[in-house]
């Protein structure tokens, strides 16, 4: 029943996605398969479909509770300066942010305004934060055909429908998750993401981007149960050099499924953020 519903919803979404396409190009011919053991669609592309869960790593990794740079998930609760680079709870090293002077001043200011984290207010997380949720918590369902790869995130009910025809980004369109256009390079799905609205944060620690954000993502199936995800984030008005991040997605047992996530249902946390830790005002009784 549920699968039927999901398929119906996805079908409607995929049909609607074409509204934003300015042109369609025919996909390149599938390359010779270098790894015959990978699951593949009938056309030969790697089959990424399934339910996946992020392992440690990325901007957030197991980096939790970080307004002052403290990583409570690290052994011993490591402290840092909030700009990444501490490692991520046993996963790959977290990327290091290097801000322009103006952006660094803005970041420091946002450290005092944690209540403004858009995701804490249930907005869409942006890219790569959509996938870079705290590890091992919210799964993502990947559904795919010969023309699209769709990411259905449990977190925030975020949906990314990515055409894989290398079509251009639309003009005069800006969005929380930007606009994603994919192409296959051999067995690697490469996704170019642009057209961001510039309002997203990369994590809970005030690290941010603006409208000039651009992301190049790579999804590569390493084996049946592992996807290597890599992202390069550039934003010349925020960072002095591109930021690289990578982590793996592990396949979730088939009995699991995406669950409903109605973020606004009972948000009662922001009112308790204290002024010195990112809140609007102190509420000591």
């Amino acid at each position: 029943m549920r699968r039927v519903y999901l398929a119906a919803v996805l079908g409607a979404l995929l049909g609607g996605a074409s509204l934003l396409q300015l042109s369609a190009q025919s996909a390149a011919a599938p390359p010779v398969a270098p790894n015959a053991s990978l699951p593949r669609l009938p056309g030969g592309r790697p089959d990424l479909q399934g339910l996946w869960l992020k392992s440690a790593g990325g901007f957030q990794g197991l980096f939790i509770g970080s307004l002052d740079g403290t990583n409570f998930a690290a052994p011993g609760g490591g402290r840092g300066d909030g700009r990444g680079g501490r490692g991520a709870g046993g996963g790959p090293p977290a990327p290091r942010y290097e801000y322009t002077p103006e952006a660094e001043a803005e970041r420091l200011d946002r450290l005092k305004r944690g209540y403004e984290d858009p995701e804490a207010r249930c907005h869409l997380p942006g890219v790569p934060r959509a996938l870079d949720q705290p590890a091992a918590l919210y799964p993502v369902q990947i559904i795919q055909d010969e023309k699209y790869v769709a990411l259905l995130h449990e977190a925030m009910h975020d949906v990314r429908i990515i055409p894989t025809d290398n079509s251009p980004h639309p003009k005069n369109y800006w969005a929380w998750d930007g606009d994603s256009r994919g192409r296959w390079e051999g067995d690697t799905l490469v996704v170019d993401v642009s057209n961001f609205n510039g309002r997203t944060w990369l994590d809970m620690a005030g690290n941010f981007v603006d409208e000039n954000e651009h992301v190049l993502e790579r999804f590569r199936l390493l084996d049946r149960d592992t996807i290597l995800y890599e992202a390069t984030v550039t934003d010349p008005t925020v960072f002095v050099k591109p930021i690289e991040m990578r982590f793996t997605l592990k396949r979730v047992p088939a009995e699991q499924q995406i669950l409903e996530y109605s973020c606004l249902e009972g948000e009662r946390s922001l009112q308790h953020f204290t002024e010195e830790d990112g809140g609007k005002k102190r509420r000591v009784k």
């Binding site: 307004l67 995701e119 449990e154 996530y261 009972g266």
Partner: protein
């Protein structure tokens, strides 16, 4: 039925733990459940806690998000009004009667993980 797993990756959430709660202020609260709301983005236990002076104060206890709890075995029937429980958690920084639950000890003695963002 509540899962009894104790070897659980700390469940995280959609907002910063550090902005709301204080790891330097652990608290143990023993009292009576008033209400259990398994809601997004975090669950909340409302409980009455008798003080040493005999006066009862009401506390709001934030748990992990409902999907994380569900995958640990929690349901909306895991707690009900009148249940006697003990919560081990961390106080909110703003001084209100609010805490983040790390573990909940049920009336029958079972300890269950209820952690939210960054719970050790």
């Amino acid at each position: 039925m509540v899962a009894l797993s104790s070897n659980v990756t700390p469940a995280a959430a959609h907002h910063s733990f550090a902005a709301e709660f204080d790891f330097q202020k652990p608290v143990t609260l023993k009292g009576i459940v008033v209400r259990w709301e398994m809601i997004n983005p975090h669950g909340w236990i409302t409980m009455d806690v008798p003080g040493e002076d005999g006066k009862t104060s009401q506390w709001m206890i934030e748990t992990s998000n409902p999907n994380g709890l569900m995958r640990l075995g929690w349901t909306k029937r895991s707690l009900k009004a009148g249940d006697e429980i003990t919560v081990d958690g961390y106080k909110a920084k703003d001084g209100s009667n609010t805490a983040n639950a790390a573990r909940v000890t049920l009336a029958d003695g079972r300890k269950v993980f209820a952690g939210s963002a960054g719970t050790p």
